[in-house]
C-alpha cells in the first residue's frame, strides 16, 4: 500500500461517490413512500411483535420437524437397512425414496394451514 499512497484514499472516494449516487436516490424515494403511509399505533406494534414471535416459534418447530425426514431418518440407515418391509423393500430405502418426501409434503401443507390460521387471527385482532 505504501507504494500507492493515493490508492486507498481514491478507492474510498469512489466508494463514497457511488454510495451517494445510488443510496441517496433510493433513500429519498423510500422516505417519500414512508410519508404517505400512516404510522402504526403502539398497540398495533405490540400485536405485530407477538405475531412475529409466534411466527418464529412455528418456524423453529417446523424446521426441527424437517430435520427428521432430512437428516435423522437417514442417520439410522445402517440399522434400518437390515429391516425388510412390504415383501422385501429395505426400510432405509423405503424411508429415503418415499417416506421422507411424503413427510416433507405433509409438513409444508401443515405449515401453510397453521400460518394461515395465525394470519387470520392477527387480522381479526387488528380489525377489533
Amino acid at each position: 500500500m505504501s507504494k500507492f499512497p493515493y490508492l486507498k484514499s481514491n478507492l474510498i472516494y469512489i466508494y463514497k461517490k457511488l454510495d451517494y449516487i445510488f443510496v441517496k436516490r433510493e433513500k429519498v424515494k423510500y422516505n417519500l413512500q414512508e410519508k404517505n403511509e400512516s404510522t402504526p399505533s403502539e398497540g398495533s406494534d405490540e400485536k405485530l411483535r407477538k405475531y412475529w414471535n409466534k411466527l418464529k416459534k412455528i418456524t423453529i418447530i417446523w424446521m426441527l420437524a424437517w430435520l427428521f425426514p432430512a437428516v435423522i431418518i437417514h442417520l439410522m440407515s445402517p440399522i434400518t437397512s437390515s429391516i425388510k418391509i412390504l415383501n422385501g423393500i429395505p426400510l432405509h430405502w423405503f424411508n429415503t425414496s418415499l417416506l421422507s418426501i411424503l413427510i416433507g409434503i405433509a409438513l409444508i401443507f401443515c405449515y401453510a394451514f397453521v400460518m394461515d390460521r395465525v394470519d387470520r387471527i392477527f387480522k381479526k385482532e387488528e380489525g377489533a
Partner: protein, 583 residues
C-alpha cells in the same frame, strides 16, 4: 378468451387425429415427429394467448398466480430435462448412494416454504439481486455481485437444457442434435418474448402436466408388465427387488440398496451422504430461478400453499424415479448369465446398442454375459424403458414429448431470470433509470434474443466438444454448492436477523465462495484427495454444506463486529419489519 379456448380444442383434436391416422397407416416415424413437434405448438399457442405489454405482467406475471398453477410452474421449472431423463439412471448406477439427489432436490422446498417464499413475496421487490441490494442498504455493488452469480448459475444451467433438448430430438427422430438445440432456443424466445413471466408460467403449467403424464404413463405400463401392482407400484416392488438383489449377490456384486458404499461427488461414507443431501437442499433455495417464482403469486398465503403444491408435483416424479431405477436394473439383470449372442438378439438391445447408451463386450471370452460386461448410460433407464418391457411403440414418443417439455420448461425460467436480470438489474438500474415501460419490455425481449443466441452457440459447442460438455455438466452439479455457499445464508439471515448488515453480507458471500471454489475445483477437476471427516470422505457436493456454515458464521461475526443493526439504515430496518407483517 372463449375463441382461444375453442381454437385450442380444435387444434388438439386435429393434433391427436393426425397422429392416429399416421399410426394407422403405420408411418411410425412421421407419427412420432408430429407428436413431438406438435406439442411445441400447444406451448406456443398458450404463450400467444398470454402475451402482454404490461411491465408488471412481464416481470412478475402481475403477481396474480394462484397456488396450484404456481405449484405446477415451480415443479416444471425445477424438473429439468436431466431430472426427467437421467435421475432414475443415476439411482440405477449409484443405488442408495444416489438417493441424496432425490431428497436433496425435494426437501429443500420445506426450507423455502418455512423461511423464504412468503417473505420474498412480501418484499415487493422484482428480482433476487434487487432484494439483496435493498437488504444491503441499497448498496449497488451487492446487486451487481448477485446479478453476476445469477448469470453464471443460470447460463450454465441453460446450456445444459439446450443440450438435453438437442439430444432428445436427435435420439428420437434421428435428426442432428444441433438442430434440436437451435429449435428449442427459438421456441423459448417465443414463449418468453410474448408475455414474459405471464406467458411462461402458463406454458410451464401445461408442460408440467405433459411431462408428468408422460413419465407416469410409461412407468405404470412397465410396472404392470413387471407385475408390481400389488397393490401399487411405489410399494409393490419388494418382490422384484429381492430377485434383483439375489442375482447381484450371485454375481458377486454389491446390492443396489446397500448404503454408503459408492462414490458420490468424489466422496464416500455416511457423513458425505448426509452433507451432500443437505447441500442440495440448501442450494435449491438459493438458486435464482427457483426464488424468482415466489414473486409471481397473489399473496403470502398463496406463496405458502404454492410451495406445498410445488413439492407435491415434484414429488410425483421424484418418488417414481427410484422405482424406475429398480425396474431398469431388474431388466438388465435378466441378461446376466445369458449367452452373449442371445443378448445381442434381444429387441431392446438391438435398438439401443447403436446409440451407445448400452455397451456389450465379452471381456473374458466365455460367451456368457457377466454384469461388468454390460455398461449403460444414465439416460437409457427412462428413454429405453418402453423397449425393455416390450411396450407398444407409442410409449417412446410419449417419453420424448415429456423429456422435451421438461427441458424446455426449465430453459424458459432460466432465460427469463437472466433477461430480467439484464433489463431490470443492469439496464434499468445502472444505464437508463428513466426508461419507459414500453422500452423496458422491448429491451427485455432484445435481451431474450441475445441470450438465446449466445446460449445456443455454447450449447452447440457442448454437443460438439465432449470436454466442454463435461465442464458444463460439472458446473451444473456445482451450481448447488455455489448457491448454498453464497446466496442461501444471506437470504435467510436477511429475513430473520436485523443485525445483518452489508459488510456481513459481502464478507459472508466472499468467504463462502472462497471456501467452496478451491475445494470443488481441486477435488472435482484436478483429482485432489478429498478431506476425511469422521471416517467419511467429503466430496465436492457435500463440501457445500461446510461452505454454507462458514458463510453463516462469517456473516454473523462480521455483522456484529461492524455494528450489527446500527450499521443498517432506518429504511432497511423498516424493510425487514415489513417482511414480518402479515398481509
Amino acid at each position: 378468451m372463449k375463441f382461444f379456448g375453442k381454437a385450442m380444442i380444435l387444434f388438439l383434436g386435429a393434433y391427436i387425429s393426425l397422429i392416429a391416422i399416421l399410426a394407422l397407416i403405420e408411418n411410425i416415424f412421421l407419427a412420432s415427429a408430429v407428436a413431438l413437434f406438435g406439442s411445441l405448438f400447444i406451448y406456443l399457442f398458450i404463450a400467444f394467448v398470454m402475451r402482454t405489454k404490461d411491465v408488471s405482467e412481464f416481470y412478475v406475471a402481475g403477481r396474480s398466480i394462484g397456488s396450484i398453477p404456481i405449484g405446477a410452474s415451480i415443479a416444471s421449472n425445477w424438473m429439468s430435462g436431466a431430472s426427467f431423463v437421467s435421475m432414475a439412471g443415476v439411482i440405477a448406477l449409484l443405488g442408495f448412494d444416489g438417493l441424496p439427489y432425490i431428497i436433496g432436490w425435494t426437501l429443500g422446498y420445506c426450507i423455502a416454504a418455512f423461511m423464504i417464499a412468503p417473505f420474498i413475496r412480501k418484499s415487493a421487490t422484482y428480482t433476487i439481486p434487487e432484494f439483496i441490494e435493498t437488504r444491503a442498504c441499497y448498496w449497488p455493488i451487492a446487486r451487481l455481485v448477485a446479478v453476476f452469480i445469477l448469470f453464471i448459475i443460470s447460463f450454465t444451467y441453460l446450456i445444459a437444457q439446450l443440450v438435453t433438448t438437442g439430444i432428445i430430438v436427435g435420439r428420437f427422430l434421428g435428426l442432428p442434435a444441433i438442430l434440436g438445440t437451435i429449435i428449442s432456443s427459438i421456441i423459448v424466445i417465443a414463449f418468453a418474448g410474448s408475455g414474459g413471466w405471464k406467458s411462461i408460467v402458463w406454458v410451464n403449467v401445461a408442460q408440467y402436466f405433459i411431462l408428468i403424464v408422460a413419465y407416469w404413463c410409461v412407468f405404470i405400463a412397465a410396472a404392470y408388465v413387471a407385475g408390481i401392482f400389488n397393490p401399487w407400484p411405489h410399494i409393490g416392488y419388494g418382490g422384484i427387488l429381492t430377485t434383483l438383489e439375489l442375482k447381484e449377490i450371485q454375481f458377486g456384486l454389491r446390492t443396489l440398496t446397500e448404503p454408503f458404499l459408492r462414490v458420490l461427488g468424489g466422496g464416500m461414507g455416511e457423513l458425505n451422504w448426509i452433507f451432500s443431501a443437505l447441500c442440495l437442499m440448501l442450494g435449491t433455495v438459493g438458486l435464482p430461478h427457483v426464488l424468482s417464482q415466489f414473486y409471481l403469486v397473489k399473496d403470502v398465503r398463496t406463496a405458502r400453499y404454492g410451495v406445498a403444491w410445488g413439492l407435491t408435483f415434484i414429488g410425483l416424479l421424484y418418488i417414481t424415479a427410484p422405482v424406475y431405477a429398480i425396474l431398469a436394473r431388474y431388466a438388465f439383470s435378466q441378461t446376466w448369465g445369458m449367452a452373449i449372442k442371445d443378448v445381442f438378439n434381444l429387441a431392446w438391445v438391438q435398438k439401443w446398442l447403436p446409440t451407445g447408451l448400452i455397451k456389450l463386450s465379452d471381456v473374458n471370452r466365455d460367451g456368457i454375459l457377466q454384469p461388468p460386461e454390460m455398461s449403460f448410460h444414465n439416460d437409457i433407464v427412462v428413454i429405453g424403458m418402453p423397449d425393455m418391457f416390450g411396450l407398444p411403440w407409442y410409449f417412446t414418443p410419449i417419453i420424448a414429448i415429456g423429456g422435451l417439455a421438461a427441458a424446455l420448461s426449465t430453459a424458459n425460467g432460466l432465460i427469463m431470470v437472466m433477461a430480467i436480470g439484464a433489463t431490470r438489474d443492469i439496464y434499468k438500474k445502472f444505464i437508463n433509470p428513466n426508461a419507459s415501460e414500453r422500452k423496458e419490455i422491448w429491451i427485455g425481449r432484445a435481451m431474450l434474443i441475445v441470450l438465446s443466441v449466445i446460449s445456443s452457440i455454447f450449447g452447440a459447442r457442448a454437443l460438439d466438444d465432449p470436454t466442454f460438455s463435461t465442464y458444463v455438466a460439472l458446473l451444473v452439479g456445482w451450481a448447488f454448492v455455489f448457491a448454498a455457499a453464497s446466496f442461501t445464508p444471506i437470504i435467510i439471515l436477511g429475513i430473520f436477523w436485523k443485525d445483518l448488515n452489508k459488510y456481513g453480507m459481502v464478507m459472508g458471500m466472499i468467504s463462502g465462495l472462497a471456501i467452496a471454489l478451491p475445494y470443488v475445483v481441486g477435488v472435482g477437476l484436478y483429482g485432489m484427495p478429498p478431506i476425511t471427516i469422521f471416517g467419511s470422505k467429503i466430496g465436492t457436493i457435500a463440501w457445500g454444506t461446510l461452505a454454507f456454515l462458514i458463510n453463516l458464521i462469517v456473516t454473523i461475526v462480521v455483522s456484529l463486529a461492524t455494528g450489527g443493526k446500527k450499521a443498517n439504515t432506518k429504511e432497511v430496518l423498516r424493510f425487514v419489519d415489513e417482511l414480518k407483517t402479515p398481509e
